[in-house]
């Protein structure tokens, strides 16, 4: 049988950001995949070398719109590691609250998109509706819905007011019933099970070989979480659980992300109830020569920043590594052997943030047809309709 090549991308509505995937298909099965990234490369590592440590934080924040806190969180810890110095306790609690609120909004965004790709537009609307509550919380606490500008090397820029905290706690309590309803809706639906169970399995050994991170590896049974392995900020002072499942398919990845949101709500409530008094900023004056490394558990995995300084006010080298960089190569292990209608949900299951990394297309040369992103989403939604008809007979 001759092989056909299906390109997806670089610019189409399947992914929010540009990427170029080339799937080689035989009939309905995918036999090979090739990923090309680099469409969003902006040269941020080179830009950092021309800005001072404090100015860099604003550029670093805009690496990604969804995981906007994770990069400054890791960067400020890297700069503090050069000296090395510990920030005041109140600043650590404030950083934790912002980091966890971002995790909730990012996982909700992903849940909505996964629902859309599978044809469950109601899940999409509900998830993004309660996401608005979380964005309201961010606006009350920091002043903006994205790009909060709260982090600086040495602490945080702005303080929380104690009169805002009761309103924030009330909004958090209002989203928990909806999250539990979404969890039940996902785990009880037979068509959802048929679409996602056993699809796109990443085995435990493959997750270790490719150095997969975040929910992608926790869904395969590899217990890796920077917040537990190397605690920083206030994560060792509050009580929470790491969520792991064993199978590694798309269903497990959905369940891991929903349960993590419930844990994040617990962490935020504990931090806000026990917020200590004190300073929020160390007012660091000079960074001595040396090297520093900062890590943070972003919604997608471990973010890693390395900073080298030579005593002036600018970094000599700043290395940024987003978690999606290590997760994208796992496509070789998950997509190969699956059918083409499942390709979209498997590709979306690792929650790729290409802005942090860098887009894909599917070309059917045998039938001389070009599938773009809309076609693939339509193929995926049609398959759900067929399965639903079968279950409702």
């Amino acid at each position: 049988m001759s092989k056909t090549i299906v390109p997806i991308g670089p610019y189409h509505p399947l992914q929010e950001e540009p990427e170029f995937f080339t799937l080689t298909v035989e009939g309905e099965k995918v036999v090979d995949i090739d990923v090309r990234i680099g469409y969003n490369h902006r040269g941020i590592e080179k830009l950092s070398e021309r800005k001072s440590f404090d100015q860099s934080t604003f550029v670093i924040e805009r690496i990604c719109g969804i995981c906007s806190t994770s990069h400054p969180f890791a960067y400020t810890q890297a700069v503090e590691d050069v000296i090395p110095v510990e920030v005041p306790e109140r600043a650590q609690y404030i950083r934790t609250v912002i980091g966890e609120a971002e995790r909730i909004h990012s996982h909700l965004l992903w849940l909505g998109l996964a629902g859309h790709f599978l044809g469950y537009n109601t899940v999409y609307m509900w998830a993004w509706k309660i996401r608005e509550e979380v964005l309201d919380i961010m606006e009350i606490l920091s002043g903006n819905r994205n790009n909060y500008a709260m982090f600086k090397p040495g602490g945080v820029r702005r303080d929380f007011r104690s009169e805002d905290i009761p309103l924030v706690l009330k909004k958090l309590d209002s989203i928990v019933p909806t999250l539990e309803m979404l969890l039940k809706a996902v785990t009880d639906d037979p068509v959802f099970h048929a679409r996602t169970k056993g699809v796109g399995i990443l085995t435990k050994q493959a997750a270790i070989d490719f150095c997969a991170l975040g929910p992608t590896s926790r869904a395969s049974g590899v217990e890796r979480d920077v917040r537990k392995d190397a605690p920083y900020a206030a994560y060792d002072k509050v009580d929470w659980k790491m969520i792991t499942t064993q199978n590694g398919d798309v269903f497990d990845k959905v369940v891991v992300r929903i349960l993590e949101k419930l844990e994040s709500v617990k962490i935020i409530k504990q931090c806000l109830n026990h917020l200590p008094e004190g300073e929020i900023d160390l007012n660091i004056a000079d960074i001595p020569p040396g090297e520093g490394i900062g890590v943070h558990e972003a919604p997608r995995g471990e973010t890693f920043h390395y900073v080298r300084s030579d005593g002036t006010n600018r970094p000599v080298r700043h290395k940024v590594r987003a978690p999606t960089f290590m997760n994208l190569p796992t496509y070789k292990a998950t997509v190969v052997g699956e059918r083409i209608a499942d390709a979209t949900i498997i590709l979306a299951a690792i929650d790729p943030c290409y802005c942090c990394t860098e887009r894909m297309s599917v070309r059917d040369t045998h039938r001389k047809k070009l599938y773009n992103g809309e076609d693939l989403i339509r193929l995926s939604q049609e398959r759900t309709e067929k399965l639903r008809g079968k279950y409702q007979k």
């Binding site: 680099g38 490369h41 080179k46 070989d209 190397a230 490394i293 890693f304 290395k319 960089f325």
Partner: protein
Amino acid sequence: MIREEVLRQVQERFKDDIIDFFDKTPKRVFIEIKPESITEVVQYILKERAARFNIATALDARYHTEIIYHFTIEDINLLISFRVKLDKKKPKIDSITPILEGANWIEREMNEMLGIEFVGHPDMRRLLLADDWPEGIYPLRCDYKEWDEKAIRDRGI
């Protein structure tokens, strides 16, 4: 195993290859090794200490080129960084992709950004730069000059 045990064993096992050993804080250790021994060290740290590969950083110091390989040993909360110093004119080192699949993409990136050659890499293509970016111009080097006369520049007003 506790942290001091692990570090002592690394120092004993590779005593001919270690040039410098800097124990900075309880969580960070920086070790400089000779470039020829990188494959052995990586094999040891992956198999016997069950470490995880974080990333490799390449940088252009003034008189030499450096690569730093970062590994995390999660059980004892330790991040070990192995540094190798390479010649600046023709930087060349063995690739670790045959033993560690996770290092494939970062070696491609280091090759196109700084011009480091990785001997034995299975698939050396461009990763981030465009296809029509000329050969021989490496963006992250210190002596990089803006070469494209026709590019649109927005200097801001």
